[in-house]
Point group: C2
Chain length 565, copies 2
């Protein structure tokens, strides 16, 4: 959805105005697009790129030293006019001719060819390489009919570096044609986009489906299929591109993973994590790979993989320095790699000396911890569902991970003859570390605070055990910055602690008092269904949780109930 | 929607693995996150930032010389654990202590504070500044309760530059606290996001509405209202931030426009085009402003404006060089600004000498061109609606713009005593230039081709006029790369031309033949309703156009019908 605009008819012009306002040190406006605002020597071939708007950083984002001299800016997804192309080319020309490059689409070919004819008629030499990297848009035997997609970046970068290095017009054309021939891309689309002011999407992809080979303006692909995992997607993309490896290709490749706008960096990194090993397993060496939003289509969801089979000349041009608003190579900041440090071992701290009583007390925690971990795993999905009502649904997973890690840490500690204070502290640390999030930290700090009341010399008596529970509550209150009634685990933990304290003070045995307190905690956890959260949640989501108990309170009640058995 | 992943539980880890694979020259993995892989001097304060995943380039993208030494990486939208923070801090420490900075959220505060205590307990000095820039999350009098959003970037950049410049821990803390106090942000949200593996969005914003002040994880804002124009939005954002201008603030400000992921570069540039003049009108001087995806929330739609009131020290630190995967300052490429060229005047070409007959013929075109422009304007919406069925809905606007420009060019030419060939060529050029897109280029090249058959010495006879129409058709066929039957304007233009040729050859008067051919063109245009486009459209959209005539054929028929009157 395109949301931010004034007059939709002026959108492309407003975009370029804002863009030039932001980067006056690199670009300036001319009729039809932008040219460099930096000094450019006479006698340098002018590289002019372009196409429709809506693909930032393509195309205006690539104007600057080391890359393009000018970019022609059409309306959204529409070819620029012949006059626009001619105007930008005239402004960019430095007396050595104009090299045009753009993605191979009918409207662009038409208008760039007309502009080229006009320049030639005026005695300005002009040459063109239209980019044709999209393997699914036509067969390999009909290379000239293929569309241009993310391969644009490689072709423009190489041509720009060649022109900057002093190649003449024929030389730039030769190297650009060569890099284009050795560049292939394969794309999938997950969702369409909506133009400024439009009431309907320009095109759509059914939910849960992906358009294999679908073009950046919704051009038909080769098939539609269910969305697959990143690993399967990586295999599909890599296999198809390796199949077009040129006969004379060496192992050096430039690789790009491009996100179309709605598919985010995180997803692109996940895919790269699956793609890179496949390429390396095929014996390839990755040269200055790029993963990001390189050529977008507004907020269209989807991505592509591009491979360019480099030779020595192409590699030098691909890696040469450049400075444009949307693409850079080279750094002013010295960044020498340092020797890799030895992998930091988890410090195996020596276990403090403990008395037999305290060690026995630690061992008794083991079976309770085992039962708690089992109970949480059994209720993991249910806790997840409760959490998903107004949260991110990971509470069950986090509690299970925390309790399982705590159990393992307890086992290790007991195996190393730790006393109860050391063992419980280790359990708390492990819980906090593996559960993650706020609730993991609260459980961890609570268990650690309880351990602080105990020691490794004695077995705790009932009063000490009650004080340990109180210490846990106090820490959770002080760190969690919430109160009873906020619809958090405190709604179960506060009444649990109070009930336990009262009963033990009144002379009830600890085990009976604990069982009674666990019953109170369960009732109070259920009663949180009537509350609305007061902290940390968006209002509409908070409201949708009314009628459902708080997952943190429910899981606390489950733990104390299980530990009592 | 998050689409690309393997096991959702491993998403954050897969993201960081792919990220480190891509940037081994800058970052390496440690337990809990990443640290620099570049050499860093002993005795430098370590700047450690962090938070949940899902906000790239925040936070791991900002590790590198000149910025952070390490970033802690939590699960998606969840605080990292104390152990993770401690681990990254230990790996980053170079013996001068650790400076922590992160956005002010309860879970992060809890875990970073616990890690800080643990470091201090080991004798490692540690200090913290939690970022609190979001003006809508709490009142200015309760600054410490505000959330941290895009202001993170400014605070981390300034602290990182200070540490790199050799500030000690107290110095880094002082300058970071100062820049945080002088940084404010104001955000609006247009749409929510969906976590990997989730079946429902984490939160939503109703269509056509914006959540004013809504947080990056869906935290409640101050109101919901209808989406407004970029200009109104800019005014709203600027007004609110100027209201918190510190008493001692000078005119120098850092300004950021941040896109949350689903709101694209083009929209951000449009907003910047409205924001920058408002700031300049308020007497402010913009220092190294940034517009882009700086802190995202997966594919959440929305944006924010951030202002930092600089002093001399802060400005130097804000503009200092840095080299990280997600943020750079400084360039290796020399880019001296060049003297601005004089605005290129549109070349006013001298009009070729013309005979009185040819000039009169040119003048007769004027009234036809006027009627065509009027008719197209009258039918603009209807043509737009037809085009929106399978296209981007701009056909009516393009045709009206082209015809209006052609009329103006004709008027100028006739006023300058041009003959019919020159006048018609000028009309074609103006049409192509202003209409844009493929259809604008085709109309332009068609009119220009027709002009090529005419001359400025005579008035064309009927046979010449027919040849001019045929020349237009031939050029459109050759440039457009489509055939009759493809559901394009050719479905009206081909039968129009053939009918005109036949009738004139059979002895019908030119005007009668034209009127007959226009009738044929209209019928054939209507008949395109039965066709499916064969080129240039996505399949599902092409199918939805069946039953509706092609807008290009309809507008052609309209033009020839109107010109015949």
């Amino acid at each position: 959805m395109t949301t931010v605009f004034n007059d939709p008819a002026e959108f492309a012009q407003d975009v370029v105005s804002g863009f030039v306002r932001l980067h006056p040190h690199l670009v300036e406006s001319v009729y039809g697009g932008v040219v460099r605002s930096t000094e450019t020597p006479e006698g340098k071939v002018a590289v002019v790129i372009g196409g429709g708007s809506g693909h930032y950083p393509a195309f205006a984002g690539w104007v600057g030293p080391g890359m393009a001299d000018g970019a022609v800016v059409g309306n959204v997804f529409a070819s620029p006019s012949t006059q626009q192309i001619y105007s930008v080319a005239k402004a960019a020309d430095r007396g050595a001719g104009v090299f045009f490059s753009y993605g191979n689409y009918a409207g662009d070919v038409l208008n760039f060819d007309l502009a080229q004819e006009r320049l030639r008629a005026e005695g300005i030499p002009a040459q063109t390489v239209a980019v044709t990297d999209d393997v699914t848009s036509a067969d390999a035997t009909e290379r000239g009919r293929r569309r241009g997609t993310a391969g644009d970046l490689v072709v423009f970068k190489v041509a720009g570096a060649a022109a900057e290095a002093g190649y003449d017009l024929d030389g730039v054309t030769r190297v650009a044609a060569r890099v284009n021939e050795r560049t292939t891309s394969f794309a999938v689309a997950f969702g369409g986009c909506t133009l400024p002011g439009a009431t309907e999407p320009l095109f759509e992809v059914p939910a849960g489906q992906m358009g294999v080979g679908m073009g950046v303006h919704g051009e038909p692909g080769i098939s539609e299929q269910d969305v697959v995992s990143s690993r399967e997607l990586a295999a599909m993309l890599v296999e198809r591109l390796l199949a077009e490896r040129p006969a004379d290709a060496g192992p050096r490749v430039a690789a790009l993973v491009n996100g179309l706008g709605g598919t985010k960096y995180e997803e692109l990194f996940v895919l790269w994590n699956d793609v890179a090993p496949l390429l390396e397993d095929a014996g390839l060496e990755l040269v200055a790979p790029e993963v990001g939003e390189l050529i977008t289509s507004l907020d269209m969801a989807g991505l592509s993989l591009t491979l360019t089979w480099l030779d020595e000349e192409l590699e030098e041009l691909w890696t040469a320095p450049t400075e444009t608003p949307g693409f850079r190579r080279g750094s002013v900041v010295a960044s020498r790699p340092r020797a890799r440090r030895a992998a930091a071992d988890a410090a195996t701290s020596a276990v403090a000396e403990a008395s037999p009583e305290s060690r026995r007390a630690a061992a008794t925690l083991l079976s309770a911890a085992q039962q708690v971990a089992d109970a949480l795993r059994e209720h993991e999905d249910e806790l997840g569902r409760l959490d998903a009502i107004a949260g991110d649904g990971d509470h069950g997973r986090g509690m299970t991970a925390g309790a399982t890690a705590a159990l393992a840490a307890l086992r290790t500690a007991v195996g190393a003859d730790a006393g109860i204070a050391t063992a419980l502290a280790a359990a708390g640390d492990a819980w906090a570390d593996r559960a993650g999030g706020t609730s993991g930290a609260l459980w961890g700090t609570g268990l650690r605070a309880a351990a602080g009341v105990l020691d490794d010399a004695t077995a705790p008596d009932d009063a000490t055990r009650v004080r340990a529970v109180r210490a846990a509550l106090d820490h959770v209150l002080s760190f969690g910055k919430a109160q009873r009634g906020d619809k958090t685990l405190l709604d179960a933990l506060v009444p649990f602690t109070e009930s336990l304290e009262e009963a033990v003070t009144a002379g009830t045995t600890f085990d009976a008092a604990w069982a009674g307190a666990a019953k109170v905690a369960t009732e109070e956890a259920d009663a949180t269904a009537d509350l609305t959260p007061r902290i940390g949640r968006a209002r509409p989501l908070a409201e949708r949780s009314v009628g459902h108990p708080d997952p943190g309170a429910v899981s606390l009640a489950l733990v104390v109930r299980t530990a009592a058995v």
